[in-house]
């Protein structure tokens, strides 16, 4: 049993987590709320076997960690759900169809090279989406979300600082980010360089292990994490800057996963830039921006004010808040692939909220989120341009339009 | 002690009792006895005796509103509470007062004023009206807009049920959610559930200053001005209008209380237009002049224009609050029964279309539909049946002939 009863007992059943939980927002059911899931964990710890119903409620958790932010008693739901997922994988026998989808997802996403093979087929995926959706909702979701990929830019091993060098940092390129959103990585490197950083981008880095951690694939997670640690330790940087929220939050927990402290600290791009302080000139960007809190940035890493400050400091940029900002958009790593209906409903909900801001541009620190929300907005007949925080900063620093 | 003739001898034991005269008639129904209890126990003794002999009882305070509501189906005993006239406890530090039902509002106010406090109800006929009568047949005054009505300021009550049971609910603390709130049920029950013997109220400190902003206004401007006043952050305690002649001019007065009343009054004046700020209320403020026929209209703020028009169209004078949504109407001339019935039904049709309700508080005749449709009537009948199964308490005086 990998579940820690002490952590379960910290919950006093106050219910403050309920309003921030995306699945509770959708279904209004106790067992699909953090409080209810902790209750299920307690039942399991006390001897109730892992029933398919129970497993279903754990699977339905997006792992957005909004509840961790909301909890006044400091319950470590993040750890609890990870331990539970391991337990689910160990004890719960999934239906063959579900097994097939999960198998496909976890043999594909953490591996950049396998992903790269997919890219030429993206246009096809888009057209096939409706047919795939009929055959299997998960496959349909996977296809519908597929981004149109820009030309891949190969980043050099080191991007030198412009002007006076103020720091040397490592940069994670990630798997999904690197393959599907190379422009975000390029923008990140440029922004860091313009702010006076030497940016070290070691070869041989792959997936950081986040997707596997979040899905209870303990072994795969550890393997991928060790490799990432090795790569950056060898590169000799003491700070690794990450621009994907999900990767950042997992990497910040490497010590717990691997049982040893890595030889570097992990920081989100916006967190790092805020700490570093601006030197580069900001050019005006006359655009209205809705900033979306990626769960793994806002809840898992507690990074909320920094991206807003960075965006707000750009002349002529108007920042608008999205209502219900604490609620997840439904993307949640592989969630939109594994729980397509819930993800879709949450996406629609978020799209509606984003729509009320009337903003022209949707910005977040996680491409999964922006992809998900943009797709939902298209479904609802609205279009919105999307960008990563790094891209907006990059445009302002370079004085080009978005 | 029994006085006034052999017939009543010993009926109510030691309770002072006299034979009733013509002056004691309730809407023309002459009781046989008038009982004058001096304690809660004596009220209980009278009611027990009445229960044993199936005698009908009408409780009375100052008698100022005894002719409101329909005549009782029968009345054997007028229970005159004038001797229950003690202020039992004024806990000034707790802003709470407990008084017997027969204490007049004037006496109560005088006692409270000694400590710089008040019961924030504007009770008409206050010289004679009693605590019990003010609860049993409440009439919201101007400041109900800010402080609520009698039921909102009542925090504890002692009642005597028709079988002589003495029951208390609430208490002498403002914040209290233990048990059902019998005070709410008895407030506005017109003596049909039992006898109110004692009441405890929450008090307010007497405001250091009061200012009335008084203006003559075209009726058409009232809805907009009232809405602006209600939304004003200068926080008026009351806004009243008076239109004695249905076709004549209308006066509007707004009251501000507390500190900086002059400044706040001037702020309100800007919302109204040409107006006078005065330390004295207009002569009609909170008054009920004639009540042979008295009609109460309650309405949502959005219905103000419709109510003003309807009152004018029906030839009724109008006084009351457009912000609290409550006005009192009186016919300008004497109407016969048919005319009154027609006027009321015409008024009701227009008012209900605007989301309001019409109640005829006082009318000297039977042929008028006093209450219109009462949605909770079946439940109310069941409450009456439980409290007064013998129908001995003011029978026939309330909604649906309760």
């Amino acid at each position: 049993m990998s579940l820690d009863p002490e952590l379960i007992n910290d919950c006093v059943h106050c219910g403050f987590c309920l309003p921030t939980c995306p699945t509770y927002a959708l279904w209004g059911e106790e067992m699909d709320s953090p409080r209810g899931r902790i209750h299920l964990m307690k039942q399991h710890v006390e001897g109730t076997p892992m029933t398919p119903e129970m497993a279903g409620h754990f699977d339905a958790c997006l792992g957005c960690m909004a509840c961790v932010t909301a909890c006044p008693s400091g319950v470590r739901y993040d750890r609890l759900i990870e331990q539970t997922r391991v337990e689910v994988e160990r004890q719960h026998v999934r239906e063959p169809r579900e097994r097939a989808v999960r198998g496909l997802v976890f043999s594909l996403f953490p591996y950049p090279r396998r992903l790269r093979l997919l890219r030429p087929g993206m246009w096809l995926a888009e057209r096939l989406a409706p047919f795939l959706g009929r055959a299997n909702p998960s496959l349909g979701a996977m296809a519908a979300l597929a981004p149109r990929v820009e030309h891949r830019q190969r980043l050099p091993r080191v991007v030198r600082a412009r002007g006076e060098r103020r720091a040397v940092v490592g940069m994670l390129t990630g798997c999904v980010q690197g393959e599907f959103f190379p422009q975000v990585n390029a923008a990140t490197a440029r922004v860091l360089s313009l702010e006076g950083c030497d940016v070290v981008i070691p070869r041989g880095q792959g997936c950081c292990g986040a997707l596997s951690v979040h899905s209870g694939l303990d072994g795969q997670a550890r393997r991928l994490a060790s490799r990432t640690v090795r790569v950056f330790e060898r590169a000799g940087v003491d700070t690794v800057v990450v621009n994907a929220a999900g990767c950042g939050s997992s990497m910040k927990e490497y010590a717990e996963l691997l049982g040893r402290e890595p030889g570097f600290r992990v920081m989100d791009l916006s967190e790092y830039l805020a700490e570093l302080g601006p030197v580069a000139k900001r050019h005006p960007l006359p655009v209205t921006v809705a900033y979306h809190d990626a769960c793994h940035l806002a809840h898992a890493q507690g990074v909320r004010s920094q991206p807003r400050e960075l965006l707000g400091a750009i002349p002529e940029l108007e920042l608008r808040e999205i209502p219900e900002s604490a609620i997840c958009c439904g993307s949640a790593g592989t969630y939109n692939l594994l729980q397509p209906q819930a993800a879709r409903d949450l996406g629609d909900r978020k799209a509606k909220a984003v729509g009320t801001t009337g903003a022209e541009l949707l910005v977040s620190a996680n491409p999964g989120c922006t992809m998900q929300i943009a797709a939902a907005m298209r479904r609802g007949g609205a279009e919105i341009r999307v960008a990563h925080t790094a891209e907006v900063l990059d445009a302002s620093l370079r004085g080009v339009s978005l | 002690m029994v006085t006034g003739g052999l017939e009543g001898a010993g009926v109510f034991g030691e309770v002072t009792t006299r034979q009733a005269g013509d002056d004691d008639a309730v809407c023309g129904v002459r009781p046989r006895w008038v009982a004058l209890p001096e304690t809660v126990e004596e009220i209980a003794a009278v009611l027990r005796a009445c229960a044993e002999r199936d005698l009908a009882v009408v409780p009375a305070g100052g008698g100022t509103k005894l002719h409101w509501a329909p005549p009782p189906e029968r009345c054997d005993v007028l229970l005159d509470l004038c001797c229950m006239n003690e202020v039992l406890e004024h806990a000034a530090g707790d802003l709470v007062v407990r008084a017997q039902a027969g204490v007049t509002i004037a006496a109560l106010s005088a006692a409270l004023a000694g400590e710089g406090q008040e019961l924030a109800l504007d009770v008409p006929f206050g010289e004679d009206a009693t605590v019990g009568g003010t609860l049993a047949a409440p009439l919201p005054g101007p400041r109900a807009f800010r402080y609520g009505t009698a039921r909102d300021l009542l925090i504890g009550i002692t009642v005597v049920l028709p079988d002589g049971t003495v029951a208390r609910s609430g208490g002498k603390v403002v914040k209290n959610v233990a048990g059902y709130d019998l005070g709410k049920l008895f407030t506005g029950s017109y003596g049909t559930l039992g006898v109110i013997a004692e009441a405890t109220f929450r008090l307010h400190p007497m405001p250091p200053e009061r200012r009335w902003v008084v203006a003559e206004l075209g009726g058409a401007r009232v809805p907009a001005v009232a809405a602006a006043l209600a939304a004003s952050q200068a926080e008026p305690s009351a806004v009243e209008v008076d239109r004695p002649d249905p076709a004549g001019p209308l006066t509007l007065a707004a009251l501000v209380e507390g500190t900086a009343a002059q400044t706040r009054g001037e702020t309100l004046r800007e919302l109204i237009g040409p107006a006078e700020v005065s330390g004295e209320p207009p002569s009609w403020w909170g008054q009920v002049f004639g009540d042979d026929v008295l009609v109460e209209v309650r309405f949502p703020a959005s219905g103000t224009a419709a109510v003003l028009d309807a009152a004018a169209g029906c030839g009724l004078s109008l006084r009351g609050s457009p912000v609290a949504g409550r006005v009192l109407l009186e016919p300008g001339r004497e109407l016969d029964e048919d005319e009154l019935a027609a006027t009321v039904s015409g008024l009701r049709e227009k008012v209900e279309a605007a989301g309001g309700r019409v109640s005829v508080l006082a009318a000297p005749c039977q042929g008028v539909d006093r209450w219109g449709h009462v949605s909770g009537l079946p439940l109310m009948r069941r409450v009456k049946e439980r409290f007064d199964p013998g129908r001995r308490m003011s029978p026939g005086r309330f909604v649906g002939g309760i």
């Binding site: 409620h57 | 233990a178 059902y180 029950s189 405001p207 439940l379």
Partner: protein, 478 residues
């Protein structure tokens, strides 16, 4: 039960009837975990009509039902019945109408308290009652409990802010109770009846205009007595602040441990006073307040909303925070007349010493509403029992001083045994008349509020001989 479940399934969408035992157990308690019971079946209706149909079905089968909103109550008011239906309103959460011209909103019962304010805040309005759990507690639950909150000192409770309720009566009728309607104030009687008179399915609430100015002051005193004197002086000066809250040294310690609220060091008590209203008035009252709090060794004034939130943070986290300084604790809720506060606090001190049980005091000082947190170590044998004794004795103190056994948490299942201490048998019998008028079959949330189940068929008020339930040994006579 099986036939009932089959009938429920035919009434409601498939996913609205929960029967799986593992799922049912997640509904076994509300915010008070001490009392637990797995419901016979849980339903999640989506409309008032569905609620009414479920209740009618319960009537047909003679099965009790319990309503539940967000399940945050602290008196076990939503404790399910093993032989009954739990009707959960958490899917009925639409804000149906916001009408600022009429200053009201119409909402379904599952809408959270804070959601109403959030819907109108931009336009300068808010919903006044603000229980500490306002981000999650539902309006339906607020109506059942007549919830208050820190600001009810000036603005009153749920009952003062609800204009109308559509309810499903215990026999399954949909009835609207409206303050505008003539007749008995059934709305007033319904609010605070803890689910024993029916289920609210649509609620019309009053919206308040946001005040022009708000000033929040944190005053630190060396002792709780000094703080108490300041409270009396504020009220004596004729000021009615929006809120007056007090915390003692132990409660401050807990809050610091949990949220690092940085209250002044060495304080024996802190007082949070919030003044609101027209700017000119708030300004003058603040000047008075400064004078009154001259005994305070530090007076902090919040300059902006962020600083105000920082001051409130310590207070609002206090309950959950106590978990950081004690393995287990009981949250008590009692009321005393404000002027009795010093005597009662001293008595609580004595109780605490006598039973070797620590008590942290957090309270709404303005209206004498105490929330003593009785701390104990559940690993220490006998400590739990001693804490229970102290907790109960505190309620006795409240009654002794003419107060109440609950100011806002409700009686529920937890405090029904104290009701006969606060009320006489006649008082309770009379309340029971209301119950019987609404719910002659006794199916709506039975076992709550009142200590003894009783039948409604008797001649009210006149007790004749032994009650059949008592005779059969099923209940004790009051």
């Amino acid at each position: 039960m099986d036939t009932l479940i089959a009938a429920l399934r035919s009434l409601l969408p498939h996913d609205s009837v929960i029967t799986d035992p593992v799922r049912l157990r997640t509904y076994e308690c509300d915010g008070l975990t001490y009392h637990r019971a797995t419901p016979g079946v849980v339903v999640l209706p989506g409309t008032a009509e569905q609620v009414a149909r479920v209740v009618r079905l319960c009537n047909d089968f003679g099965v009790p039902f319990v309503a539940r909103g967000s399940g945050t109550g602290l008196s076990g008011g939503a404790l399910p019945r093993e032989d009954g239906v739990l009707i959960v309103t958490s899917r009925m959460r639409a804000i149906l109408e916001v009408d600022l011209a009429d200053r009201r909103a119409v909402v379904e019962p599952g809408v959270t308290n804070l959601a109403i304010t959030e819907a109108v805040r931009d336009r300068g309005y808010y919903y006044a009652p603000d229980p500490s759990s306002q981000q999650i507690c539902s309006i339906g639950g607020n109506v059942a409990e007549n919830s208050g909150g820190a600001h009810c000192l000036k603005y009153g409770f749920t009952v003062n802010h609800v204009e109308a309720c559509e309810i499903v009566t215990p026999d399954g009728d949909l009835v609207t109770l409206d303050r505008m309607d003539p007749g008995y104030d059934l709305l007033g009687a319904f609010i605070g009846s803890e689910g024993t008179l029916g289920i609210a399915t649509k609620i019309t609430v009053r919206l308040c205009r946001a005040p022009e100015a708000v000033t929040t002051v944190l005053a630190a005193f060396e002792s709780i007595e000094q703080g108490g004197q300041a409270v009396s002086a504020i009220i004596g000066a004729g000021i009615v602040p929006a809120a007056i809250e007090m915390m003692d040294a132990l409660a401050i310690e807990a809050a610091e441990a949990a949220v690092a609220c940085s209250y002044p060091e060495g304080a024996g008590a802190v007082l949070i006073v919030e003044l609101d209203g027209p700017a000119a008035e708030v300004e003058r009252q603040f000047a008075q307040l400064e004078e009154i709090c001259s005994a305070a060794f530090e007076l902090r004034v919040a300059a902006d909303p962020a600083e105000r939130a920082a001051i409130w943070k310590g207070r609002k986290s206090a309950f959950a925070a106590v978990g950081r300084i004690s393995p287990a604790y009981i949250v008590q809720d009692g009321v005393v007349p404000r002027t009795s506060l010093p005597a009662v606090l001293a008595a609580i001190d004595r109780l605490s010493a006598e039973h070797d049980i620590k008590v942290a005091n957090v309270f709404h000082a303005g209206d004498g509403n105490l929330h003593p947190l009785v701390l104990f170590d559940d690993g220490d044998p006998g400590a739990g029992e001693r804490a229970e004794v102290v907790s109960g004795a505190i309620l006795d103190l409240c009654i002794e001083h003419g107060g109440s056994i609950t100011g806002e948490h409700g009686v529920g299942v937890d405090k029904s045994r104290y009701m006969p201490k606060m009320f006489s048998a006649d008082d309770l019998d009379t309340m029971q008349l209301v119950r019987c008028a609404f719910d002659p079959q006794g199916l709506a949330n039975p076992g709550k509020v009142f200590p003894t189940p009783r039948l409604c068929g008797e001649v009210p008020g006149v007790r004749k001989g032994v009650h059949p339930l008592v005779e059969s040994g099923k209940a004790d006579q009051l």
